[in-house]
C-alpha cells in the first residue's frame, strides 16, 4: 500500500551523516525591516510575521530602526547574564552527568531570548516561563543557590522536593511555576493579563512555548482568548528548529512562520532573530508598549537553534547532524553580543575570558553552597512529612492519616 501513498511527510533538511542545510530559513538583512509605530493596526504590519527583524549584522554592527540603543552598561549586563546562564547550564549539565541531580535541560544557544526579553519587561510584569527560560530566573535575581537547590530536591528546595529539576518558580519576582506539561501556561498567561485589564492595572504578562508545542490546544486557546479580549500579553514561540527528534515542519512550520499563526485572529506577529539580543530586546519592548497601552497581544517568533540535547535523557546525534549548530546562519547569541561590544570598543577578548571565569566561579561557589543543603543521596534530607502538605490549603483528614501511617512504618514519631 505504501508506494501509492500521497501523504506528505515533513522532512528535516539533514539527518545524521548529511551536511547541515539551513536554506529553508528565510532571512532578512540586519536593519532591513522597518519599525512601525506600536499603535499600527495588525493588518497593516503583517510583513513583520514573514520577514526577520535583525539589528546586529554579521560584523556585529547594529543597524536600522529596531536598534534599541542600549547603553554600554546595559549591553555588558546582558552579556554577563547570558554568560552566567550558560555557565549555570554547563555546571548543572555536568552535575547531572555525575549523578548529583536526576535530570537537566540546557538553554544553550537560546540565552538571548530570556535575557533580551527579561530586560525589556518591567518587574511587575508576570512571566509564565517554559523549561528553557532559566535565563529569566537568573535575570530576575533568583539566587543561583535556590535554583540549584530546586534541582537537588534538597532541604532548601523551593518546590519542597516535589518537582523534577528545572521546574522553578519565584513568586516575589513574578515568575510563575514552570510546568512539565507543554503549552498549559499559555492560556494561563492570557488569563493573568485579562485579570490585569479587568483590574485596570498596567502590568502585562508573557509566556513562552517551543515550536513543537504550538500544536497543542493551549496555543490555540491562548491566541483566541487573547484576540477576543485584547489581553495585554506577549506570546512567544521559541523556534529552535527541533522538538526532541522532530523537526519544526511537524508543527506546521514548513509553509508559514510561527509568527503568522495569529494573523487570522488579528494578532500581530513578529519574527525576530532570536540570537540577536538587540533585536529581541527591541521587539519585546515594542510588544510590551503595545500591550501596556491597550493595543492587545503580540505573538513573537524567536528564530534560534537548540544548541544542545533536548535534555539529559536525549542523544541528538541519533537524529540530526552533529555539526548542525555550527552551520546555523544566526550563530551563537553570546558570541554575537560579545562581537558587537568589541566592535563598539566596549569590550575585549580578555574581558570576555575574565567574565567567563568569573561567572564560572560564581556558579561553582553557588553549587558548593547548594550541596550543603543536601543532595539526593548525601547530607541533610527533606523531612518526608512535607510530601503531604500543600495538596490543599489545609491538610484533610485522609492525608493526616496517611502521613501518620508512613511515619509509623518508618518508625518515626509523627
Amino acid at each position: 500500500m505504501t508506494p501509492k501513498s500521497r501523504l506528505h511527510i515533513p522532512r528535516p533538511p539533514a539527518r545524521p551523516g548529511d551536511a547541515p542545510d539551513f536554506s529553508y530559513l528565510a532571512l532578512s538583512q540586519a536593519g532591513a525591516v522597518a519599525r512601525p509605530d506600536f499603535t499600527t493596526p495588525a493588518r497593516e504590519i503583517e510583513n513583520l510575521a514573514h520577514e526577520l527583524v535583525r539589528v546586529l549584522d554579521d560584523e556585529g554592527v547594529a543597524n536600522g530602526e529596531w536598534d534599541p540603543e542600549l547603553s554600554k552598561e546595559q549591553l555588558i549586563e546582558a552579556l554577563r547574564l547570558m554568560v552566567l546562564t550558560r555557565q549555570f547550564d554547563d555546571r548543572m549539565q555536568r552535575v547531572q552527568r555525575q549523578g548529583k541531580i536526576s535530570f537537566y535541560m540546557q538553554s544553550l544557544g537560546e540565552e538571548a531570548v530570556s535575557i533580551g526579553q527579561g530586560m525589556a519587561l518591567e518587574s511587575g510584569d508576570m512571566l509564565f516561563p517554559s523549561y528553557r527560560n532559566q535565563g529569566l530566573f537568573i535575570l530576575r535575581n533568583t539566587s543561583l543557590v535556590d535554583l540549584m537547590c530546586q534541582c537537588l530536591s534538597n532541604t532548601r528546595d523551593m518546590c519542597k522536593g516535589r518537582q523534577m529539576p528545572i521546574m522553578y518558580h519565584n513568586r516575589q519576582a513574578n515568575l510563575f511555576s514552570v510546568s512539565g506539561n507543554l503549552g498549559t501556561q499559555y492560556p494561563q498567561a492570557v488569563g493573568w493579563a485579562m485579570a490585569s485589564a479587568i483590574k485596570g492595572e498596567d502590568h502585562i504578562s508573557a509566556s513562552w512555548v517551543g515550536d513543537g508545542s504550538t500544536a497543542e490546544s493551549d496555543f490555540h486557546y491562548a491566541l483566541t482568548f487573547a484576540a477576543v479580549y485584547q489581553a495585554p500579553v506577549i506570546l512567544n514561540v521559541v523556534n529552535n528548529q527541533w522538538a526532541i527528534s522532530t523537526f519544526q515542519g511537524f508543527a506546521g512550520g514548513e509553509r508559514r512562520s510561527f509568527a503568522a499563526r495569529g494573523l487570522g485572529l488579528g494578532i500581530p506577529g513578529v519574527r525576530v532573530d532570536g540570537n540577536d539580543l538587540l533585536a529581541v530586546y527591541a521587539v519585546t519592548e515594542w510588544a510590551a508598549q503595545r500591550a501596556r497601552q491597550g493595543h492587545g497581544p503580540t505573538l513573537i517568533e524567536h528564530v534560534t537553534y537548540r544548541g544542545g540535547a533536548h535534555s539529559t535523557s536525549d542523544d541528538p546525534s541519533r537524529y540530526r547532524p552533529k555539526d548542525e549548530w555550527d552551520a546555523f546562519p544566526l550563530g551563537d547569541p553570546v558570541k554575537r553580543l560579545k562581537q558587537h561590544l568589541v566592535k563598539a570598543g566596549h569590550w575585549s577578548d580578555e574581558q570576555q575570558a575574565e567574565l567567563e571565569n568569573e561567572m564560572k566561579e560564581v556558579v561553582l561557589d553557588a553549587w558548593k553552597e547548594a550541596v550543603t543543603y543536601g543532595t539526593m543521596t548525601e547530607g541533610p534530607q527533606l523531612d518526608m512529612r512535607i510530601m503531604f502538605d500543600d495538596v490543599y490549603e489545609e491538610m484533610p483528614e485522609n492525608l493526616k492519616r496517611q502521613r501518620e501511617q508512613l511515619m509509623e512504618l518508618r518508625g518515626v514519631k509523627s
Binding site: 508576570m126 516535589r162 521546574m167 518558580h169 510563575f176 492560556p187 490585569s196 482568548f225 500543600d390 490543599y392
Partner: protein
C-alpha cells in the same frame, strides 16, 4: 426565608458573593448577556457589568486555563461549563494544572477557581447531555468535588466553594433544578416550594465542604447517596417501609467518612446509589471505604445501585436511570441477605 428553586438559589449565591467580594468574576459560555442556558447567571451581568460576568468563547479548556491565570492574578473566577458532558476538553487544565499548582509550587501559587457544571440525566438529553462524570474528579488529589441535592444546600455549598482557596468542581444535578425528583417520570413534577430544601434564606450563609447530612434517620439500613438520587432513595425507602439512614454526602472530596462509619456501625447494612455507571463509579470508593471502616459490623454485602455500564441512552432513559424499583430491589437484596 424565601422559596427558591435550585437555579434561583445558585443565582442568589453568586449574587451575594459578587456583592461581598469584588474579586469574584463569572466566566463561561452564554453566561453574560443571556444569563446562561439554564439561567443560573440571569441578571448578574446587568448588575455587575460586562467585566465581571464575562461571555466566553466555546473552548472549555481555554476557559479553565485562562481562569487559572485570572485566579493567580488575585481574582476569584467562577466558571460555568454548559453541561458536565463538555468538561472533558478542560480536563488537562484541571488535572495537570489547577489541581497541582499549589503542590508543585511548594505552596506559593494557587488559583481558587470554582467550576460549576450541570450534570445528570432525566431530561431526555441523550448521551451528550446526561452524564455524571464526578468519579473522575474524585481520583485527583488537589481538587474538591461537590454535588448538592437541594436549593438550600446548593446555595450554602456554592458559597463555600467559591470562598475556598482550593479549586472546586461543583456539579449541579439539572434534573432537580426546578423541583425534587423521586425517580418517577410519570408523576406530575413537584416544585421546590413543596420541599423543605426549597426554603432558602435570602442572606449569606455557607455550608462547610466535607460534611455529609443525614436526611432521614433509621436503624435497619444505611443508604449513602448524593444528588438527584437522594430523593429517589427517600421515595424508595418510604415505599419499602423500612427504617433507614439516608445520607447525602454532598461533598465527595473531602468525604465525611465519620458520618458514614457511625451510620453503618449502627445499621450493619449499606446500600450505595448514584446515577453514573457503576464500574469504577464513585460508589466503588464509597463501598471500599465503608467496607474498610465497618467490616466487622456488616451483616450483608454492601450493595451498589447505579447506572448501567453503557452510555446514557435517549430512548431508554427510564430503563437506564437507577430509579425507585432498582433501589427497592437493592434494598430487598441487602435486607434479605444472610
Amino acid at each position: 426565608m424565601k422559596q427558591m428553586n435550585m437555579i434561583q438559589a445558585i443565582n442568589s449565591a453568586l449574587d451575594l458573593v459578587m456583592d461581598k467580594d469584588p474579586s469574584v468574576i463569572i466566566f463561561g459560555e452564554d453566561v453574560g448577556y443571556f444569563g446562561g442556558v439554564f439561567r443560573c447567571t440571569d441578571g448578574l451581568q446587568a448588575k455587575y457589568g460586562e467585566h465581571r460576568v464575562i461571555d466566553a468563547p466555546i473552548a472549555e479548556g481555554g476557559i479553565i486555563g485562562s481562569a487559572i491565570g485570572i485566579g493567580v492574578n488575585g481574582l476569584r473566577p467562577v466558571v460555568e461549563i454548559q453541561f458536565a458532558d463538555y468538561i472533558y476538553p478542560g480536563l488537562d487544565q484541571i488535572i495537570s494544572e489547577l489541581a497541582r499548582l499549589r503542590y508543585r509550587s511548594g505552596g506559593e501559587y494557587f488559583s481558587p477557581v470554582t467550576v460549576r457544571a450541570p450534570c445528570g440525566g432525566g431530561i431526555r438529553g441523550g448521551q451528550t447531555h446526561s452524564q455524571s462524570p464526578e468519579a473522575l474528579f474524585t481520583h485527583l488529589s488537589g481538587i474538591k468535588t461537590v454535588m448538592p441535592s437541594t436549593p438550600y444546600d446548593a446555595k450554602g455549598l456554592l458559597i463555600s466553594s467559591i470562598e475556598s482557596n482550593d479549586p472546586v468542581v461543583f456539579f449541579e444535578p439539572k434534573r432537580i433544578y426546578n423541583g425534587p425528583f423521586d425517580g418517577d417520570p410519570n408523576k406530575p413534577s413537584i416544585p421546590w416550594s413543596k420541599h423543605p430544601g426549597g426554603e432558602v434564606p435570602e442572606d449569606y450563609y455557607s455550608i462547610p465542604l466535607g460534611k455529609a447530612t443525614v436526611v432521614e434517620e433509621g436503624d435497619e439500613l444505611s443508604i449513602i447517596t448524593y444528588g438527584t438520587m437522594v430523593h429517589v432513595a427517600q421515595a424508595a425507602v418510604s415505599n419499602a417501609g423500612i427504617s433507614a439512614d439516608i445520607i447525602d454526602i454532598r461533598s465527595l472530596v473531602p468525604l465525611d467518612i465519620e458520618t458514614l462509619r457511625l451510620s453503618v456501625e449502627k445499621t450493619g447494612r449499606c446500600l450505595i446509589a448514584h446515577e453514573a455507571s457503576r464500574f469504577s463509579g464513585f460508589g466503588a470508593e464509597l463501598s471500599a471505604t465503608v467496607q474498610e471502616e465497618c467490616f466487622w459490623h456488616l451483616q450483608a454485602p454492601i450493595e451498589r445501585v447505579a447506572g448501567w455500564e453503557t452510555p446514557y441512552p435517549h430512548a431508554f432513559e427510564w430503563d437506564y436511570f437507577p430509579g425507585q424499583e432498582r433501589i427497592m430491589a437493592g434494598i430487598r437484596k441487602v435486607m434479605e441477605a444472610a
